[in-house]
Amino acid sequence: MNPVTFAIYLAVMAGTTYLVRMIPFVLFRRKLKNRRLIAFFEYIPYTVLAAMTLPAMFFSTGNIYSAIAGFLAAMVFALLEKSLLTVAVATCLATLAVELITKFGSF
């Protein structure tokens, strides 16, 4: 990516991210009381990750079959509550297996 374009994006991205962390840390010292607001903040990380993952994950390899294999492996290992790294490795291996079959396989 063009260095100037990149630098502008990076400045906006990093600046915003920093301010989101810094402003509440400096200004607010009291606990949130509003239950709906507390619940909203509790849900946000998961709704964000879910929306970012699906359906984008299916199109992240350029081969929908390998991506589906990766997704299924991730679901199985995540439901078994394996560690972050285990789930990631399983995802990659399942994807790789299908990538190799479609690339080199001659069925």
Partner: protein
Amino acid sequence: MKNDKPNKRSNTFKQGILDGIPVALGYLSVSFSFGILAVTSGLSLWQAVLVSLFNLTSAGQVAGLSIMTASGGLVEMAISQVVINLRYGLMAISLSQKTDESVTVPARFLLAYGITDEIFGVASGADHPIGRRYQLGLMVLPIVGWTLGTFIGAAAGAIFPDFLSNALAIGIYGMFVSIVVPKAKHSRSILICVMISVVISALFYFEPHLSSAVSGGFATIIAAITAAAIGAAFFASDKEEGAS
């Protein structure tokens, strides 16, 4: 001194460094995936490293990366980072309840940069008030791990063949799945919020009018906020399932 008891973790820089080791090791692998994804999306190795060094957040960086590579708008970039990283603001408020008097306003300007899910988690779990030296120590290795992992991933992504890079780039989504699914398994309210979010996200992706009118970054924001707001409206009066 209170901290002389052998099993008591102390509020020192050194203890912070020690407590940061497991976080740093975890970050190496997540940021490796980000590094691969970044270079396969079109960033250079050093651009990928700078993104990690300056942002220190996985979900925010993946969203930011997709906005950059899709030539998205700067307003979209800013809003997406606010929404996706909103939880850090809440963690900052929560951490504020636990800091001691050494955490002055100038210290906060520096320490704020290091508020991540995992660093916050360790600090929250500590059995002592959080001093600025401890918190600074806690940040150091995770920052190194996050940046170094990105470098290694980006370097690998640049030399690996496509099929291998593809298989590794999907890993970061696998990590997202591993964060969301166990939580959703144990909390019905989170499960429903997550499903609503996915349905809205899919709608924006596949419905032709919506997908041409709304970019990916905004689609994520709309899906996440709508789903969390619906959840907050309907489930907030339930007995809390460990609201943090």
